[in-house]
């Protein structure tokens, strides 16, 4: 069975339907890219799958022993937190919150892993800096490092390369690709970069004017 399955999902807010008849299956090690124009409901789909928002109808089924705390998420924007006093280290570590279990504090392995993830994102020299004093691209990398801490099986990325410079964009795609290949992490990524989507993804979810089309790119 798939890790996650959406059945006849209908997305929308209150009375407006954004998209309907969405049927998606996500299996271990798959790489799904969600593409479509602004405002078509890509972020809404992701939030609905994550349970941050109720679907208008339809079901979301977690299968294959995927539990909620094995999911990493990179939100499109965290607008509320512009002046939040938090260091980079504190934020990256908070990625482990779903896996604290009954312990009140993070273990030393988790701290090491957080450090390794900061290294991977090239932000380890920023670790004691305050989040609100970083540039947009640096903040994005901090949030990605946090998502890496949260995940083992599945990573949801809402426009991960928005605001990153070309070199870092390439690095980021490569990094995500490595996670997908080596660690068999399933990736669900929203992007406007159709070339990258075709290059890396195994599946494409396209939001068109009045339907959502799913397409398998590789086998």
């Amino acid at each position: 069975m798939a890790l996650l399955k959406c059945e006849d999902l209908v997305l929308g807010y209150d009375n407006t339907v954004l998209a309907s008849d969405i049927n998606i299956e996500i299996g271990t090690g798959e790489y799904h890219c969600i593409v479509g124009e602004n405002g078509t409901g890509k972020t809404t789909l992701m939030k609905t799958i994550l349970g941050l928002k109720e679907p208008l109808s339809g079901r979301i089924i977690y299968g294959d022993g995927l539990s909620k705390n094995e999911i990493g998420y990179l939100p499109q924007q965290t607008d509320a937190q512009r002046d939040f006093p938090a260091s980079v280290k504190e934020i990256v570590l908070s990625g482990f919150q779903g896996r604290l279990g009954l312990r009140p504090f993070y273990s030393s392995e988790q701290k090491k892993e957080a450090l390794a993830n900061m290294e991977r994102m090239g932000i380890s020299d920023l670790r004691d800096r305050s989040y609100r004093e970083l540039s947009g691209g640096q903040q994005q990398r901090v949030l990605l490092a946090r998502a890496l801490c949260a995940t083992e099986k599945m990573l949801f990325l809402d426009e991960p390369v928005a605001g990153l410079d070309p070199q870092v964009t390439v690095d980021m795609y490569e990094l995500i690709n490595r996670l997908n290949r080596e660690d068999k992490t399933a990736i669900i990524m929203i992007t406007h970069d159709i070339d990258a989507a075709r290059k890396y993804a195994t599946h494409l979810i396209r939001f068109e004017s009045n339907e959502v089309v799913t397409e398998c790119l590789k086998n």
């Binding site: 994550l50 349970g51 941050l52 999911i71 504190e90 934020i91 919150q97 779903g98 009140p104 609100r132």
Partner: protein, 279 residues
């Protein structure tokens, strides 16, 4: 001057006031950090007005122990106000304003119509602004406060990482399987309890000061969550102690003196913060 302080300190009720003051300072600072960052600064104010309304109702109903009514009523209001600020149609600040003024009006109305007290204005004034002289607390009050404070601090330490995470980014917490609503509920209940207890010391109109000043002051200087939390607690305790001492020496109203100390401390920290970023 100091003789006066020394003499005062020989009375148990003065020592009780100091103990309760420190305990409340610690708790309100911890909660304040969360509330300020969640953009809920005014919840303290709103809840204390609800508590004022509840006290009036309890007085009118002639309850033997007001707390039995005031505490649950305030807790309910807190849960209502903190819960799903995003999902409801009336948004956070408007809801707080609404609940707050309604409770204040109804409380005053009830007191006015039904109260048998000969000194109504005095009663109301001391509920709103705290008593003019140092409050007289019993051993029981101190124990209640101590228990509440120990629970608050313990909860804060045990759930420190989760509270930070949920306050920083609730969506991420929910996405990674943390029951964010539970922590919001927990915070709401504790806030209500602390507010009701603190109201006696400082009065219901002035209570917001204890909530917002420590957090805001600490945020002027420190840039990470842990430092902000620790600094807020120290700031709060120092201000309350200073306020209590000054109010004894100069015979000023306790609540107003403490708030003035908080304000002075805030301005000082603001200045230090400015100097630091410029220099």
């Amino acid at each position: 001057m100091f003789e006066k302080l020394i003499t005062y300190l020989q009375f148990p009720f003065v020592r009780y006031a100091f103990i309760v003051g420190i305990l409340i300072a610690v708790c309100s600072a911890l909660l304040g950090v969360i509330l300020v960052l969640k953009r809920y600064s005014f919840i303290g104010d709103g809840l204390s007005h609800v508590a004022f309304g509840a006290i009036s109702v309890a007085t009118v109903m002639n309850l033997t122990d007001n707390m039995l009514f005031v505490m649950p009523a305030t807790v309910l209001a807190a849960v209502f106000l903190l819960k799903g600020g995003k999902s409801r149609k009336v948004h956070g600040d408007a809801a707080i304003a609404m609940v707050s003024v309604s409770a204040l009006a109804i409380g005053y109305l009830l007191m006015n119509v039904f109260s048998a007290s000969s000194n109504l204005t005095g009663d109301i004034c001391s509920t709103l602004f705290g008593s003019t002289a140092l409050i007289t607390l019993s051993m029981k009050d101190v124990i209640v406060c101590l228990v509440a404070a120990v629970i608050t601090v313990a909860v804060f330490i045990i759930f420190y990482n989760r509270i930070f995470a949920v306050t920083f980014d609730e969506d991420f917490s929910k996405a990674s399987g943390v029951r964010a609503e539970r922590y919001n509920l927990l915070i709401a209940v504790i806030i209500a309890v602390i507010i009701v207890i603190a109201m006696n010391l400082i009065g219901s109109l002035l209570i917001s000061a204890l909530v917002v000043f420590p957090a805001l002051s600490a945020m002027c200087i420190f840039r990470n969550f842990r430092a902000v939390t620790v600094c807020a607690v120290i700031f709060s305790v120092v201000c309350v102690l200073l306020g209590l001492i000054l109010s004894i020496i100069f015979s000023t109203p306790t609540g107003a003196t403490i708030v003035t100390c908080d304000l002075a401390g805030y301005l000082l920290f603001l200045l230090c913060g400015k100097i630091r970023t410029c220099g």
